[in-house]
Symmetry: C2
Subunit: 436 residues, 2 copies
């Protein structure tokens, strides 16, 4: 009979110290629910020489191998982020027969197949609740709470930095670059914010959710990704006028024999719940064929919310160790033998309404040229407004378009941008309709 569940932690940065603090501060709550103490046995970190004094029972090492070779350790938690050496550490821990937990969405969306297959072969568990939605128990809800559903769609705000920037731009009308700089000062954005603002981090998370939702190995390069750096306050103002908020959404719709996979700024109807998720909060909405819409909301990042999610994985695996029920729930929801490869809907075949902001010199015939191009590509106009008219300066032609095919839109934008009067690339934003 075991006397404790022992955890080895790789990485004592923000998230790692959040887990350590959680296991220490909540040990009473945890043991009254689990029945055994959960202890942090070892921490591996190459940047620190000692742990804070409250971690008396924990040994610090600078070599992650000390964790893999410690026979007392049951669960290895990787919280260093990035691809390498995180990937190698995960595989080594699995090889050593340890259960593994990670919050590393980049790693899972790129090397998930390798890691999950290695874990299945070795008979160990992989916990990754914290990889999507921070403290929100989104993975458990999808895998277990909605287990009886075929998932028909996923829509979500999955990156707090991007949502903070769009929210601040919406609230204060501040330009993107200014809000980004402020977010960096406040620690809401990284020094290199590319992953967050260009939608890559959101795509990582969508890949993970799609894999679970559909039982298909979805990888990062399956997903069409656009970021928010081209969005201007003027677009947000127009969105508001038309009854929308602009959000960076991950969207996947399941068409049975093919599935959509895309991340892009989206005009969300202002009374939709996703339109009202502000600041750094995340929200993920699943549509199940029997449950209908379910939405989960909370802190998508941060030291303690992420600690909460990682600790939930520790408990989940710890309970399986105690009960002898390892891999009671398949890591990716569907059993490995039922896993397949996805067919991704080609982006060009999607249809949705669009918003265009075309920037042109105010010359006679320009509007006629634009509408001619749109007509030629079977795109019909719902409304057109011309904004700004200072002599010699370009004007914005703002168009609301009816539902159009992506491929047509791409061709039309290329032709519009080639017009002699056009001074800047056209900004196009997709509009969310309930059916997409």
């Amino acid at each position: 009979m075991k006397d404790a569940i022992r955890v080895g932690l790789i990485g004592f940065g923000t998230v790692g110290s959040g887990l350590a603090k959680t296991l220490l501060d909540q040990q009473d709550v945890l043991s009254r629910k689990v029945g055994l103490p959960i202890t942090l046995s070892r921490v591996a970190d190459i940047r620190i020489t000692e742990l804070p004094p409250e971690y008396r029972a924990t040994t610090l090492t600078n070599d992650a191998n000390d964790i893999f070779t410690d026979p007392a350790i049951d669960i290895v938690v990787e919280l260093i982020g990035g691809i390498e050496p995180a990937r190698t550490f995960m595989l080594k821990a699995i090889e050593a027969g340890k259960h593994v937990i990670t919050a590393n969405k980049a790693l899972l969306s790129i090397h998930g197949k390798e890691i999950f297959e290695a874990a299945a072969a070795r008979g160990v568990e992989v916990g990754f609740e914290a990889s999507v939605g921070g403290g929100i128990p989104v993975i458990k809800a999808l895998k277990e709470g909605l287990v009886a559903n075929r998932i028909q769609s996923i829509r979500g705000i999955m990156n707090g930095t991007a949502n903070y920037i769009l929210s601040a731009m919406t609230e204060h009308g501040t330009p993107f670059a200014e809000v980004l700089a402020e977010a960096q000062r406040h620690g809401y954005a990284e020094a290199d914010p590319t992953y967050d603002i260009e939608g890559i981090d959101t795509a990582h998370k969508l890949a993970i959710l799609m894999s679970i939702a559909y039982g298909k190995h979805v990888q990062l390069d399956h997903i069409s990704v656009e970021g928010i750096s081209t969005i201007k306050p003027i677009d947000i103002d127009h969105a508001r006028e038309f009854g929308y908020r602009i959000k960076l959404l991950a969207i996947s719709r399941n068409h049975g024999d093919h599935v959509e996979a895309r991340v892009h700024p989206t005009m969300v109807p202002q009374d939709h719940m996703l339109a009202n998720i502000n600041s750094t909060f995340n929200a993920i909405q699943f549509t199940g064929d029997i449950v209908g819409d379910v939405l989960l909301y909370g802190h998508g990042a941060g030291m303690m919310p992420t600690g909460s999610a990682v600790a939930a994985d520790v408990v989940d695996i710890g309970r399986n160790i105690i009960a002898g029920s390892i891999n009671r729930v398949p890591a990716l929801s569907y059993l490995p033998q039922h896993f397949g490869q996805p067919t991704i809907t080609p982006m060009g075949e999607l249809t949705c309404p669009f918003y265009f902001r075309v920037t042109v010199l105010d010359q006679p015939g320009t509007l006629s040229a634009i509408s001619g191009i749109l007509g030629k590509h079977n795109i019909s106009i719902k409304s057109v407004i011309q904004k700004g008219q200072r002599p010699g300066e370009p004007v914005h032609v703002v168009l609301q378009l009816h539902e159009a095919r992506e491929a047509d839109v791409t061709s039309a934008v290329a032709e519009i941008d080639a017009l002699p009067a056009c001074t800047e690339p056209t900004v196009k934003i997709r509009v969310l309709i309930e059916e997409n």
Copy 2:
């Protein structure tokens, strides 16, 4: 090695037939996740003589005992509702060594302790995901997803009928009775809507959530309950003017040595997520000490959403049967030996801001009398508006009050209602502040 998980169902009404349909329609999804088929072996219902033809593999009986005595049945699902014979059936099933699942919040909030203790003694599981929040996986999220948290508060819209009525009153300005009648015509409200509109059903659900959240046996009579039948469109209009929406909320705050437990109409700031949950939807917000706020949203009732939740319990218990890990997660989150009795904060000691609508004859000195009474009870006024002034008809004196003690408010209302000029009982509505 088992070849299937076999379910016996008591009650083939709306929810029961939703479960049957779920197990039939989703059998492919379920077996690709669970690894074994889940079959509906027997249905007991006293009102029907045959099952629809698609349930070829299921035997119908009019005697629930046929289910308890069938050695092949692993899990008994009680979906008849009400207290008796539901309680007796649950206890008989447990005694027969069957795992049990119920959606019956009334039963659990009144006889939960007896049922959970009987199940623990017999070593069987009790699933009750569908008892709160319909298809929203709120019990699993709380018990497992937020396992590492001390729950600091629970706030939620947990009754779709009451929320539908308040939403319709808000949207169309229709009086309560009219909306209720319409809801009854549409099947959104029962013929006897007392439980829904008087907050009793919401209290049942709050009792269940509090028990899990705090590890205390909370029962229905611990909870202070007020319904929505006194709310008029005029109150909703005032709420809107002041920046609020009126919602029937369940609220519990955890003060460590005592916990609040109350259900009442509440003015919710209009930008709060709970203010924007409309129609029959439910939403439940937990605040955890490490995760912060987490909110879950979805269909709180209905044949298929409830079927989704019951099926999730069937899978959860089925997996424990397959893995040999019965009671891997304690039924009420905390282990039975750590369960205690709650100390409920006396309602009179609570403080919050209030809205009053006092109905009086328009006589000189009345406002002075009202403000005198409030002052005497240490209640300070934030704003006062007098509305309506048709000769000979009573007027509404609408007051926004600063934070005040419940006991003082109760005394003040009694004195105001005793004023000769007062023609109707004063309507008082509590105002949600982030700290309550």
